[in-house]
């Protein structure tokens, strides 16, 4: 159609998008190529504290099953622990999607290893060091995996192993570890009972220390859930228990008066 002068509408595709592109209303938003590049700047669905304790002949790590969406308790029954193999388990706090990403990679690595059929099995140190490199490399690209990860394991030769790594690549080993809110509330409790026990726990003592801390966290951490999973790694292998509810006592509540 010929141009009809100033009184007729502009040709249909004037100022329109190139074929295959979306229409860009002038002044409302900029083409994505002109915007700053965006990466993960904050976690979205998050898990709170993970606890880890070593004992004679093994390690136990624990995490509740809540996935929070800000202050909303969005997913109430998701697992934040991963059994890697019979020697290693990991637990993650922070962004749940990033944990799933890491979980998928580890599962694939373990599967690839199984295909070799050489009975090789990643040791706790190997998994911990590997995670350290993955998380450090991502922070160096300013595109972090937003997690605090606890690696627990038992190796016949190396004994109990408990390691930590965060989104920046800070990593260390310690006899008791807690991430997130738990590093303020549970870690002092764990250290106190561990040290007053001559730096030596039995499996039962480790589990009861964990249970106590999970209960304190349920009372005090607003992002915690009321059931938790435990991974126990000993010479007999690694098992992740089904979620266990935390018993609470609110008798005192009716006596609390807010003036």
């Amino acid at each position: 159609m010929a141009d009809g002068g100033q009184f007729s509408a502009a040709p249909f595709w004037q100022n329109g998008p190139s074929p295959g592109q979306f229409y860009n209303t002038p002044g409302t938003n900029l083409a994505s190529s002109q915007l700053p590049r965006t990466y993960t700047q904050q976690p979205i669905v998050t898990g709170t504290s993970v606890l880890g304790v070593t004992f004679t002949g093994g390690v136990v790590i624990a995490a509740d099953t809540l996935g929070s969406y800000g202050s909303l308790a969005r997913f109430r029954d998701i697992s934040r622990l991963l059994k890697v193999n019979e020697k290693v388990a990991i637990g993650a706090s922070g962004d749940y999607a990033d944990f799933q990403f890491i979980r998928d990679i580890i599962n694939q690595k373990v599967l690839d290893g199984k295909c070799l059929n050489d009975n090789y099995c990643y040791s706790p140190v190997a998994i911990h060091t590997w995670l350290t490199r993955i998380l450090y490399n991502r922070r160096t690209k300013i595109n972090p995996l937003w997690n605090n990860i606890i690696v627990g394991g038992y190796d016949e030769n190396e004994g109990s192993y408990l390691g930590y790594v965060d989104k920046l690549g800070v990593a260390y080993q310690a006899p008791t570890i807690a991430t997130g809110y738990g590093s303020y509330i549970a870690q002092p409790l764990l250290r106190q009972s561990y040290e007053s026990n001559n730096n030596n726990f039995t499996e039962e003592q480790a589990l009861s220390a964990i249970e106590r801390c999970m209960r304190v966290l349920l009372y005090r951490d607003g992002r915690s859930g009321n059931q938790y999973e435990v991974a126990i790694i000993t010479k007999d292998g690694c098992q992740v228990t089904s979620p266990k509810p935390i018993s609470t006592n609110w008798d005192i509540a009716e006596y609390v008066k807010y003036v």
């Binding site: 409302t28 915007l35 990466y39 300013i142 800070v170 260390y172």
Partner: protein
Amino acid sequence: MAAELKKAIYPENATIGLPTQHRFDPYTLNGGTIVGVAGDNFAILAGDTRLSEGFMIHSRDTSKIYKLTEKTFLGTCGFQGDVLTLTRLLNARLTMYEFEHRKKMSSTAISQMLSTVLYYRRFFPYYTFNILAGIDTDGKGCIYSYDAVGNYEKHTYHASGTASSMLQPLLDNQVGYLNQEGVRRVPLTIDKARTLIKDVFISATERDMYTGDSLHIVTITSDGVTEDHFPLRRD
């Protein structure tokens, strides 16, 4: 370019349509202090074993002293993530050197390599503060200190890390005999140096929140290396 476009479209500093920009901080400070002292026939490198972040103590027994060769040790503090990466990179470079030259790298060669490795990351630095201690080719003790981007200098004594500003003047006075008149400059012995380092760390622990738990002391002589642990305040 996005900023110019934004200004053209929204003259009144409007923020509609653009993502708010707040950057992820790729660094953290994990604290800790290291001290190196070199004598005529020895070098001592000491560091506390606390690993902290803000008000949290992550670990009470993570050493800051890393063995590079039989007679060269590296003390390093600052950002633990970079410390782990840097020490791994150095170990890889040292292994490659050994395979290529069929000998261990000398302390002086390592000192130059460390500077190069640090400067390579001039515009995204390894946030680490290093002291290298070793025995040079003449059998004398040597200490090199570095800033985060590879500026380095040979010293007879040096302190780095969170309590360095407290320790360095004390070492200047007691080891360097600086700011004193008519002082008799007695050559430093291993025992005196070790006692001084312990005292200096005990004092630093009293004043610096990020220093404490225990002291790892490595003494390097041409005859060999001894390592000691000395308890410090844990609060």
